[in-house]
């Protein structure tokens, strides 16, 4: 019953009596599991439906033996029929329970999301400029609303005017507040997040009921999920196996009856059929599917369809942005080089002053490095200086000191033009740094070259190992960057990425996606800008960042609320776990059957001395043997519910190794555990007095 206590770390009001909720949830699960005995629900799962039908048959015989005179004539044990019926009933109920628990988990996830949004009201801006309060549910796409400090954003939208500090923690779990303002790539806000400071005018981008929140709620709550091709094919296999075994058992009944070889007991044959049909996987299949979506939602990823999760498990190629995904996103200063004849201190001071009021991360890192090296800036009043910000025309930035001295930093060519030449020695150093993928900036005072500061793109800690994991899974990674080839090569080497595209233009990603898809590969890409939208839409898995634009989020089929591009690796793992869990349970079901045969077949041919060799488990009492096998079969469902909900473990390794490992675990494990389990249950039943040894 581990599923009943769902952790809800990101919901508001999560503190309200979790104990009370988990209590009502157990009640709900039980009610739901009973309600699922409705034949209209049962018929959707043919494997369990077969059990359901035969339960009714044995129940009828147990309740009113006289209406089946043929059965009663052949040494009829009513108690045996009752026992069989009860275990069959339990089998169906366990399958219902598995599904009900998975649904309850999903519902809990959906509720915590829904809680965020319920009762939201919004201050709508009418065309004439007037404001009026409306319920969030009455808003439509394109409406303008105003949100002020301490209010909650009613629906997903884009900031049309103003800017504000926003707390998205109830959506993303990320406690640091973020700035959202009009213009640029940081305009989109999520319904449910809170404005801490400032005020916004917001253009609604989602119809009520179609926002990301609603979509995720619908997906986790959906009673009829759209099945992936894998699930359809597996269902076909399971149903065919069930049908084949039905043919085997029904014809066996006739063959036993006509030939008189062996004992014809319908309860035993029903038990045998139920043991053999893949009830374990049949009973857990839908729970596996539901839990996959729930797990993705718990990872704070909004996904627009369940199929996308499985597609993630199948990926061949992953296209990643360099900036923000592989590198921390900013180039940082790592070294000063003084020009010939200039002392180091002067060069550092030039760098420090040129970057003194430069608020870009690069600028700050130059100032920080200089300070670290012991350079102190003279006291300056910002109002007396003139800041020259970076411009594409100037390709330099800097500061004009109160005395009129210009302290500049910029590209080698720009500074070289300014100074009318560049020291050869320094140029060599700069070229060498470029070759290593670093970015050299020239420093100048007035028209004189003072030295270089070398900036470096810093790879995120741990990214190399994660990309190596992807490689082991057989996923090729392609890094996309606007940097030159050398910089890109250096980052690619450092981060374990397989391939890279340097000097990428906005349309490069779309072209990359198209090329990879034309080779039949499944492609995923991460992105956040409006430029990325076409490629996100084209990719099989478009993984958009929550911090990105609405266009990007609309185009992708998954949105990471934490805006962490590397999280796509977690989604890939969840997708693979889904498939592995299904395959593992199927293998387990099938290998279990071997042991079940060796337990039930001897019970049918108990009187034939030549077939005694089949009784490898030495089960003396045929009816107890059948009950033990049937009980084992039923108990496997609840025993494996945790596996179905959490997913089979997945460690990145080569496919053949994974196959060998899972075959040993679930194939051989299923074979051995069934022999042992049935024997133990038999001993237990005999000990309980349910049959002679």
């Amino acid at each position: 019953m581990s599923g009943a206590t769902v952790s809800r770390p990101h919901a508001i009001g999560a503190t309200v009596s979790v104990r009370r909720e988990s209590h009502t949830r157990i009640g709900l699960v039980l009610t739901r599991s009973i309600a699922k005995f409705d034949p209209r629900q049962q018929v959707r799962n043919p494997v369990i439906f077969i059990v359901y039908i035969f339960t009714m048959f044995t129940a009828a015989v147990a309740l009113y033996p006289p209406i089946f005179p043929d059965i009663v004539r052949h040494g009829f044990h009513r108690a045996y029929y009752i026992d069989v019926t009860l275990i069959l009933l339990a089998t169906v109920w366990f399958a219902n329970l598995a599904e009900a628990i998975a649904e309850a988990q999903a519902k809990a996830q959906a509720d915590s999301l829904r809680e965020v949004r319920s009762g939201l009201r919004a201050r709508q801006i009418l065309p004439d400029g007037k404001r009026r309060w409306v319920a969030a549910t009455q808003l439509h796409r394109g409406d303008l609303v105003e949100v002020r400090a301490a209010e909650t954003i009613p629906l997903d939208g884009d900031v049309a005017k103003g800017g504000a500090l926003i707390d998205e923690s109830m959506m993303t779990g990320e406690s640091a507040a973020v700035v959202r303002e009009s213009g640029g790539d940081r305009t989109s806000v999520l319904g449910g997040s809170k404005v801490l400071d400032g005020s916004l005018e917001l253009r609604i981008t989602a119809e009520p009921g179609t926002s990301f929140l609603d979509r995720m709620i619908q997906l986790v709550e959906a009673t009829s999920r759209d099945k992936s091709p894998n699930e359809i094919a597996l269902t076909l296999v399971l149903n065919a196996l069930t049908l084949a075994l039905l043919v085997v058992i029904v014809t066996l009944a006739y063959l036993l009856g006509y030939t008189g070889i062996g004992t014809l007991d319908l309860a035993t044959l029903v038990a045998m059929l139920v043991c053999l049909v893949p009830t374990t996987i049949g009973g857990l299949l839908s729970a596996v599917g539901i839990s996959g979506v729930t797990r993705v939602a718990k990872a704070n990823v909004v996904c627009k369809s369940g199929k996308a999760i499985e597609a993630a498990g199948d990926l061949d190629v992953l296209i990643l942005d360099k900036t923000g995904t592989i590198t921390v996103g900013n180039r940082l200063a790592v070294q000063f080089v003084a020009a010939p004849g200039v002392d180091a201190e002067t060069a550092q001071l030039t760098g420090l002053l040129a970057s003194l009021f430069d608020e870009t991360p690069e600028g700050r890192s130059i100032a920080r490095l200089a300070t670290l090296r012991g350079t102190r800036s003279p006291k300056l009043n910002v109002n007396e200086c003139k800041i020259l910000p970076f411009s594409t025309a100037r390709r330099m930035s800097g500061l004009v000191l109160p005395d009129g001295t210009e302290m500049m930093k910029g590209s080698i060519s720009a500074v070289s033009a300014l100074a009318g030449g560049f020291p050869e020695e320094l140029r060599k150093t700069a070229d060498a740094a470029s070759l290593k993928g670093m970015t050299p900036l020239a420093l100048a005072r007035q028209n004189q070259v003072m030295g270089l500061v070398i900036l470096k793109d810093v790879v995120k800690p741990g990214i190399g190992q994660r990309l190596q994991e992807l490689k082991t899974m057989g996923i090729r990674t392609i890094m996309c960057t606007g940097d030159n080839r050398l910089t890109a090569l250096s980052i690619a080497r450092e981060s374990n990425v397989d391939e890279f595209v340097a000097e990428a233009k906005p349309e490069t990603k779309l072209r990359l996606v198209a090329i990879e898809k034309s080779h039949g590969r499944l492609v995923a890409m991460t992105g956040d800008g409006t430029n990325d939208a076409p490629a996100l839409a084209r990719a099989d898995v478009g993984f958009a960042m929550n911090s990105g634009t609405s266009a990007a989020k609309e185009a992708g089929n998954m949105v990471d609320l934490d805006s962490d591009p590397t999280k796509i690796i977690d989604v890939i793992s969840i997708g693979k776990q889904l498939l592995i869990t299904r395959g593992a349970l199927t293998t387990f079901s099938i290998t279990n059957d071997v042991a079940k045969y060796f337990a039930v077949i001897p019970a049918i041919f108990i009187g034939i001395p030549t077939l005694v060799f089949l009784n490898v488990l030495q089960l003396g009492n045929p009816q107890t043997a059948v009950l033990a096998t049937l009980l084992f079969n039923a108990l496997m469902i609840p025993m494996l519910i945790p596996l179905a909900l959490v997913g089979a473990s997945f460690r990145p390794m080569a496919a053949v190794d994974l196959l060998r490992r899972n075959l040993l675990l679930y194939g051989l494990g299923g074979l051995v555990s069934a022999f042992i389990g049935i024997k133990l249950l038999y001993i237990l039943l005999v000990w309980l007095g349910l049959g002679s040894p």
Binding site: P229, N230, I232, A233, L234, V237, L241, L243, A244, L245, V247, V248, T251, L252, Y254, L255, Y258, T259, G260, I261, G262, L276, E310, G313, D314, D316, T472, M473, G474, I475, R476, H519, G520, R521, K576, Q577, L579, I580, R582, G583, A584, T586, I590, T591, D593, Y597, I604, F605, T610, L614, F650, A654, A655, V656, L658, L659, R660, N662, L663, Y666
Partner: protein, 561 residues
């Protein structure tokens, strides 16, 4: 258990068969990829003439439905033609023994048997088939049915390579199989057998003076040419009722070995052909490995079970040469068992022993081979079955490695799976349902002997028919309307349901683009995969047939190793 000389004999025969099969598989891959071969100058004009007569364009690729349509149509026409020949053989020429026409149900059963490459014989050829029927009717079908099986496999395999949804041209495949493979092979085989002592004559009887005066007429005929295509085409229908146990059909230990090698040719060639056709020659080995594991285990069990019979051991009878009841005394027990093993496991169905006299253990091993149908199974279709099993195994195994299952770059999804399970389902259905109906009237009506022995015989009948094997276990009263009609239908469904499924899977695969492999792709050329495939086939087949094996042969009493 096995004397070293016997072991050398067995290994030599199997080794020779495998070697020739490998060579043949490579030749066949060239043949069906339309690549030049040395025999082109001879056969190109012949083939062109045939295409012109048929009025077909051999270069136009077909989708799977059109291919299946052509296959079913030609086979149906042949079936009707041979049915008429058998029904009216009394009025037709070349009828030395004045054989009357067959009854409609026997004619239907026989025509179905030879069309489907089963060659189950509910009649005694010596007395119930004229030379006209044998030559123009049955022997023609022996070529056509073998060619059909190979053509279907070739089309199936093309699905793994092609990307345009087409599976090849039926007319080209069938004509090339006939002219460049079956006819030359059968001719060579017939000559070898002829020189080894098998008769080949259009005379229908040999006149033989007896020592005590008077004379006897011994039925004979073009036995060598019949025998050759019977073995090479995995047909298995005998020229004589005693089949390869008859001294004119299999006179010496040498012909016995030649016939074993002939049976191995087209049954063991397909893995090699497959590897070459999908341009990954090593892909042959996981399958060859699986076939060899399944087949060798069966062979060892057969040798063991036929080495001695524990029920005879107490009777003061020497079994130093094996349990010889029902076996030909001209051959050693190992020669007979090797013949029988490859004949049943290769779905040839020729018999050199009386199967009803085998020990129950040996009988269960033979039944198991026909339940499997793929170790190695009949010409083309046997390997097709193994591929279908492999697709199902790869599907389950592929899920366990966390990717949508794929094989040779083609995804295995609902389109392929639905046809694979039709095949999986059809075999038990076609065996168990008619069997249950057959025994409804009482086992003693069907076959003689104690209950489980009679049951084994009846089970063997439908198993052999559904697997398109054709070997029979007597004594059984099977020339009845029920057995003829039900048997005929079982053979037809047991043949064409899997064949259509193979073509459909090939077509579904051919519609897909190929995905390049990565380290995340399940590599099939590994020992792990081979063992997994063997385990999968054994467990799934066991699940379906375990109860009837217990009721039949095992209940008779088996001395397990």
């Amino acid at each position: 258990m096995l004397a070293s000389s016997t072991l050398a004999d067995v290994l030599f025969t199997l080794g020779l068969g495998l070697l020739l099969a490998r060579w043949l598989g490579m030749y066949m891959s060239r043949l069906f990829q339309g690549r030049p071969t040395v025999v082109d100058p001879v056969f190109d004009p012949i083939d062109r003439a045939i295409y012109r007569i048929l009025g077909v364009d051999p270069r136009r690729p077909m989708g799977w439905k059109e291919y299946a349509g052509c296959l079913v149509l030609t086979n149906a026409l042949a079936l009707v033609f041979v049915f008429l020949v058998l029904f009216y053989q009394g009025q037709l020429p070349l009828n030395f023994w004045h054989v009357p026409g067959m009854t409609w149900d026997l004619a239907f059963h026989t025509a179905s048997a030879f069309t489907t490459n089963t060659d189950y014989q509910h009649y005694a050829p010596e007395t119930q088939a004229s030379l006209f029927s044998a030559l123009l009717g049955l022997q023609t079908l022996m070529f056509l049915s073998a060619a059909s099986g190979i053509a279907v496999l070739v089309a199936f395999i093309r699905g793994f390579v092609r990307k345009d949804g087409m599976v090849g041209n039926f007319w080209s495949d069938i004509v090339r199989t006939l002219t460049r493979l079956l006819v030359p092979l059968a001719a060579i085989g017939a000559l070898v057998l002829l020189f080894a002592g098998v008769p080949e004559t259009l005379a229908q009887s040999a006149h033989n003076a007896l020592l005590g005066g008077g004379f006897q007429l011994i039925p004979t005929g073009p036995v060598a040419s019949w025998d050759s295509i019977e073995m090479i085409g995995t047909n298995g229908g005998g020229y004589f009722a005693a089949n390869a146990g008859h001294p004119l059909q299999n006179p010496t230990a040498f012909t016995n070995m030649i016939e074993i090698v002939m049976m191995m040719l087209l049954t063991f060639a397909p893995p090699f052909m497959f590897g070459r056709m999908v341009r990954r020659p090593n892909e042959a080995y996981p399958y060859l490995g699986a076939i060899i594991v399944l087949f060798v285990v069966a062979l060892l069990l057969l040798f063991y079970f036929e080495a001695s019979n524990p029920y005879v051991s107490g009777l003061n009878v020497s079994q130093s040469h094996g349990y010889l009841v029902g076996a030909e005394s001209r051959f050693t027990i190992s020669e007979s068992v090797l013949f029988q093993g490859i004949s049943v496991y290769g779905n040839v169905g020729a018999t050199s022993m009386s199967l009803g006299s085998l020990t129950p253990g040996a009988q269960s091993v033979l039944l198991w081979g026909m339940f499997l149908q793929c170790a190695p199974g009949g010409e083309g279709t046997g390997f097709g079955m193994l591929l279908i099993n492999a697709l199902l195994a790869i599907f389950v195994g592929g899920l366990m490695v966390g990717r949508t299952p794929e094989y040779l770059g083609k995804k295995i999804g609902p389109d392929q799976i639905k046809w694979a399970i039709v095949t999986l389902l059809s075999h038990p259905l076609l065996i168990l349902v008619p069997l249950a109906i057959a025994v409804a009237g009482g086992l003693e009506q069907v076959a003689a002997g104690p209950g489980s022995h009679a049951f084994t015989i009846a089970l063997y009948e439908f198993t052999s028919e559904s697997a398109n094997n054709g070997s029979g276990m007597g004594p059984i009263n099977d020339n009845t309307q029920y057995f003829n009609v039900a048997g005929g239908l079982v053979m037809l469904l047991g043949r064409y349901v899997p064949m259509v499924a193979m073509l459909a899977i090939g077509g579904a695969l051919a519609r897909q683009p190929a995905i390049p492999p990565s380290t995340g792709t399940l590599r099939t050329s590994s020992v792990t995969f081979t063992l997994f495939l063997v385990g999968f086939v054994v467990i799934v087949t066991g699940l379906l047939f375990f109860p009837v094996l217990a009721m039949g042969p095992w209940a008779q009493g088996v001395n397990w190793p």
